[in-house]
């Protein structure tokens, strides 16, 4: 999928910006920085406006992410149940701080603030699959499975 094609299918007013960024991220896994100029031109916006929205929204990322995205909840409910400990354990095991991607570019570790399953926290999501009541002891097996996830 190239950017031109995605642009052609999208409307040209400012309200189309976020849906457009969603489409680009879905196609590439991230929003390539070089696409910003094209998007701005298509929507008659300045590049800084596009960049502003892009960087404000936590969901969008300019840097390429790994195929496997491991998200650990740090919301209040998960925090009270030890979510902080889970991130630490993951960081230690993967050797990267949250927010980054492993050296082989395969796996990205992320933090989220509430994934809406507070009753069964701490919650970890690997590419859409939820793990609940996660304890530090379960981290190994989750990461093991994550490595084989597509």
């Amino acid at each position: 999928m190239d950017i031109e094609k995605i642009l052609k299918e999208s409307g040209t007013s400012q309200k189309d910006l976020v849906p457009l960024l969603h489409k680009i991220q879905a196609a590439y896994g991230h929003v390539p920085p070089e696409s910003i100029a094209a998007v701005a031109k298509h929507l008659h916006l300045s590049e800084s406006e596009v960049f502003g929205v892009l960087s404000f929204n936590r969901f969008f990322t300019l840097a390429p992410k790994g195929k496997v995205r491991v998200t650990v909840c740090q919301g209040t409910a998960c925090h009270v149940r030890g979510g902080g400990r889970i991130v630490e354990e993951m960081e230690k095991k993967l050797g990267i701080p949250a927010g980054q991607t492993t050296a082989d570019k395969k796996l990205s570790l992320e933090k989220a603030y509430c994934l809406g399953c507070c009753a069964i926290g701490p919650v970890v999501v690997v590419n859409g699959t939820h793990y609940s009541l996660v304890s530090p002891q379960k981290v190994d097996s989750i990461l093991e499975k994550a490595k084989t996830a597509e």
Binding site: V18, H22, N57, T76, A77, C114, G116, C117, I120, H130
Partner: protein
Amino acid sequence: MRKLSHPDHLAEWKRIIQEERPAYQKVIAVSSGTCGRARGSLQILETLTQEIERRKLSDTVGVEATGCHGFCEMEPNIVISPEGLFYKKLEAKDIPAIVERTILKNKLIPSLVYEDPATGRKYPRQREIPFYQKQMRLLTENNYRINPERIEDYIVLDGYQALAKALFDMTSESVIAEVKASGLRGRGEAGFLTGKKWELCREAHGHPKTIVCDADEGDPGAYMSRGLLEANPHSLIEGMIIGAYSVGASEGFICVRTEYPLAVKHVTLALEQARKHGLLGAAIFGSEFHFDIQVVQVAGAFVSGDETSLIAAIEGRKAFPRQQPPFPAQQGLWGKPTNIHNVETWANVPVVLNKGAEWYAKIGSDKSPGTKIFNLGGRINNTGLAEVPLGTRLRKLIFDIGGGIKNNRALKAVQTGGPCGGCIPAGKIDIPLDYDTLSQAGSILGCGGIIVMDEETCMVDAARYSLNSSSEESCGKCVPCRVGTKQMLEILNRITRGQGEALDITRLENLAAVMKAASLCGLGQLAPNPVLTTLRYFRNEYDAHIREKRCPALVCQGLLPEKKKAKNTRRPETGRKAI
């Protein structure tokens, strides 16, 4: 499939659906919201379906995936109708026995029945379980009867009748009068009178007007919007169409967080189905009223849940809040009047019209009528979603419905309303949960998050955690919030590290006063609440940290005696370490 072009078609359609439905002797509803799925409900669903097919029971036994029924602690669970039997915490290996014994021979399987941990009594039927029995479920009762991917299930339960009534038996003004008379207040944050907001919007100049459903539930620890969107999407869509008719809007938006993919899926499907049947789009029910709804995926920040931020987000700008007034009802999307409500508020509208304002106004407390869905979380036995009349006492919610504190520990405090809400001390456990009483106690009702803290919680650390959350979420547009949350957090960080000074308390109070008075949106105005309430009710803990360099709950790492430090790292499960 037919398109409804006259209100009478609704009753006819309902009759046809009922006639054409398979005549099941039993229906098994598998609770399959996001929380259920996370606990393996889809596997239960698949195994059940296979087992039913294998035994050639498909004609007499139905298996349905429904949204969440609220008792998330017991996921994955099922409800077997018509008896209403409730089986909890299932595993795939339980399925053959369920079919063999319960479905075929009407025998209970005691190990799968819910047992009250306090009394040891067993409750086979869902509605008898204290968690459910003590609730009043106006919005959530039907969750186990609805497959959210099928509009027919909603129609059979008298869905869209309130809309038909509004369009054909009532004027826009009389709908507004009815909603006003019901006393319904916004369930999103401020508790503003819903009917009053509609009136403002109707009277405001400017076209086209818009309707928005705020489902950008960024409040960590609360997921009632997700619950409703996933389990009964048509209820809020119906409410929105009625709202649109009343204020004269032609376009609507449902703004859902990207973190809620299942909610997006169900709502999108529900809109398509409503459109196909003539309940949405041009000439609704064959009338002259046109209105359509789009789903917008908002890409996650707590502040974008604020109504003015949400407007910016829909317009494709950065989700920054702006000064009010002018209120969105007067100048909202693209400068035109816009009526924004929370998911739960919209879902209440059909109830008000179906049951009548007089009936509705009698539920709950005088100034806060109706029910509210609360999200029980933290150190409580029965976590999940519970719906009770507003004005219900906190004690009832925590102990009767919530089953008390985990591991029989003592209750210390309850934080209501998310990270911007205050902490109510255990001594005030008989406080009625309504907008006004909670705000007098220094907290908010917010969207109904309840986080229970036990004796092992350090209140200074709890305040610090909330402030950490608010300072990360602060959008940075206004100084009092951006700098205030940061400064407060730094002071609290210092105190919990054992470097607090006597003056810090005054500093915190001064910062709070400025933030409350001068912040642009609710985030900055309310962020000091956790600090102010813990100062008000747990002053002794601040004193212990600052003067005695001691953390009474043994949580703050910097203040632990050497022996405890070692012990604490050996017990990571307690998990309440400082970030």
